[in-house]
Amino acid sequence: MKKRLFSILYMFLLTFFFTSIVSAVKIYSQAKIETNQRVKLQRIILDVLRMPVGEGISNRRVVELFDQRVRETEGKDRTLYVGYAEDGRAITGYAFPVGGPGFWGPIYGMVAVDPSGTEILGVAFYKHSETPGLGARITEDWFTKQFRGLPLRPEEAKKKIFYLKSAGTAQAGNELDAVTGATGTSRAVEAFLNKELAHFLKDIWPEVRKKG
């Protein structure tokens, strides 16, 4: 009986001790983790809005630039990030988050359109669970830069806005290169991104245009 009591007490003390240590580490690092995530998102937003945020730009500069040039506003079902020119008055583009099922898990990205809503400024993916070296290549420049200048035509509602084809076979203006060896991921991206873009044009953009 005494042994049992001691065992229980021991486990209790041990648990208390270790969970305290873990909690302390968590609290200490929490701020840093959140900053990392926030700056990463801001960097992506600036990037798709074609603002100068290349490789060497420090986190501090990213935050500065974001504060200066981007304003958040509420779209119909998601946050919109409005990019402004240096003078602070002319709108240079609208960025909005997109997401959908990838091959392994959900993929989250950011899309930016030009002020008239007829052309894509940029696309970037910031969270995914795809295979490194294969599906994960959707984050690479060569893939995302393909989306720049892609026309958005709301009249052609039935058709997809873009298609992913095997490398080298893309011909029409709206056919882009898929990732070689990552058919699953490429198909998934084609499906959800088209859906998100169509949804944006149909439901979110009209409101934005109204607000001016």
Partner: protein, 197 residues
Amino acid sequence: MVQIDPGTLFFAAIFTNNILLTNFLGLCPFLAISREVKPAMGLGAAVVFVMTCTAVLNYLVYYYVLLPLNLEHFRYILFIVIIAAFVQLVEMTVERFFPALYYVLGIFLPLITVNCAILGASLFLIIREYTFVQSMAYGAGSGVGWMVAIIAVGAIREKVQKSAKLPRGLEGPALTLIITGVMALAFTAFSGMIQIQ
């Protein structure tokens, strides 16, 4: 967020995203397991049961207890505790109602607790943001996939070691790994089969 229907997810977990052949999880008991098919099936069945139930339990604990209290970082501790407790429960039940099976499985039953695949399945379903039903399908599918992989590789290994003259040093883990590699290769052929959307 993910919109795969549970039935497809179940099959995907067995073939295209097999937790052992694609995610490398659950290898330890694999390399040590006996070459008899019967105990392998018994163990496999136990693993399927544990995996499905713990996937569901861990899902509930994560979304209804940990997240609301802002304690997601404790999920590792909580998940493994739940798995250990559950395996203990299974062990007691099997000992009581299926003593023959208990005798055959021996030490492998409690070792299910440290099977990477079980904890792995729970962690993956959180990362991939599966819903409740999807988690159940994924847990069951992963368990079945593990079982299929183990039995298949075990059977091949048994055949090879019986009938072939092996070069020095190949017998045992090296052979098992290579057979597993070939099987993993074969399973990648399935990846075109499942349409996610």
